[in-house]
Symmetry: C2
Subunit: 147 residues, 2 copies
DNA sequence: TTCTTATTTAAGAACAATTATTAACTAATA
DNA sequence: TATTAGTTAATAATTGTTCTTAAATAAGAA
């Protein structure tokens, strides 16, 4: 079984386990977001899915993303550009959000997981998702300024 | 000079330093957000300011908040409720965002400042604002569930 | 396989947060 | 006090997201 087939099976079985009907739209959206680490917006996902499913509507995109969030496949990010973005990486990680070019880069640091865990314990707060956002200017845009 | 008078002076002089006209609306909005640690939304700020300035418009609220952000008085938070919130605390700190009651609590941890500083250095990213968001269930809502 | 039914979907209307437009107003300087 | 560039109020426009409803469909039963 190929990697892709394995992901298909995983997606389908997880839908079934959660008493959700397995529709082509759901599979397509799930596959797309689970394989995409570029924090796509709903609009971007819509455009992408429409290539294979031309009649899909935005409402379906939003409804499916909500479901994917509920079954723990993805998390919704709240970043400064006024639209939600979606991320299959549920581990604590940082987002470096460049105010110049709009680029959003992931950054992993083992200290972060530890910190989230500490705060969760100290504050008696059950964490379902987390994210450290750093707003500022990325390396590339700093270099461009000196040109 | 009282604390309140000192804040007034500070606000006015900072506006002047940034070549911004000092208007009653701006002073009122600045005073309100600088003294409020409850992460108010634009709508909330509008309602509050309207009590003393009944003709103020939402556009002025948004424009002034943008200006306050630019001169480094506040930061804009992106939280899951679809509207921006504003925070005068510019130090790295965490937000515990309860999915049940919607409450947003600040949490300070010295490790966080260190972590932000490390990432900034390692990634060569100039940080202008930061925030660690923890989504989940707060202590109070957990207790309510067991009742 | 075909039937039945509860879900899901597509399409577009509705909604809410934010931004843009523009004419009237006003703070700051001369 | 007069000038003017910047600011404001009112409202229209825009944009992301959710709601509504009739048609379509997945999943289990017959």
């Amino acid at each position: 079984m190929t990697e892709s087939q394995y992901i298909d099976k995983k997606i389908i079985s997880t839908f079934r386990e959660n008493n959700l009907k397995v529709t082509p739209q759901r599979i397509a959206i799930a596959k797309y977001v689970l394989n995409n680490s570029e924090h796509p917006t709903a609009k971007r996902i819509y455009q992408e899915i429409r290539m294979a499913h031309p009649t899909v509507s935005v409402a379906t995109i939003y409804a499916t993303l909500k479901v994917l969030k509920e079954i723990g496949f993805i998390q919704e990010l709240n970043l400064p550009d006024g639209q939600s973005r979606f991320d299959p990486n549920l581990e604590p990680h940082a987002h470096l959000i460049c105010e110049k070019c709009g680029d959003i880069t992931d950054w992993e640091d083992p200290l972060l997981s530890e910190l989230v865990s500490n705060i969760s314990n100290d504050a008696h707060f059950i964490v379902s998702a987390s994210g450290l956002n750093l707003n500022g200017v990325c390396r590339k845009c700093q270099e461009d300024e000196n040109t």
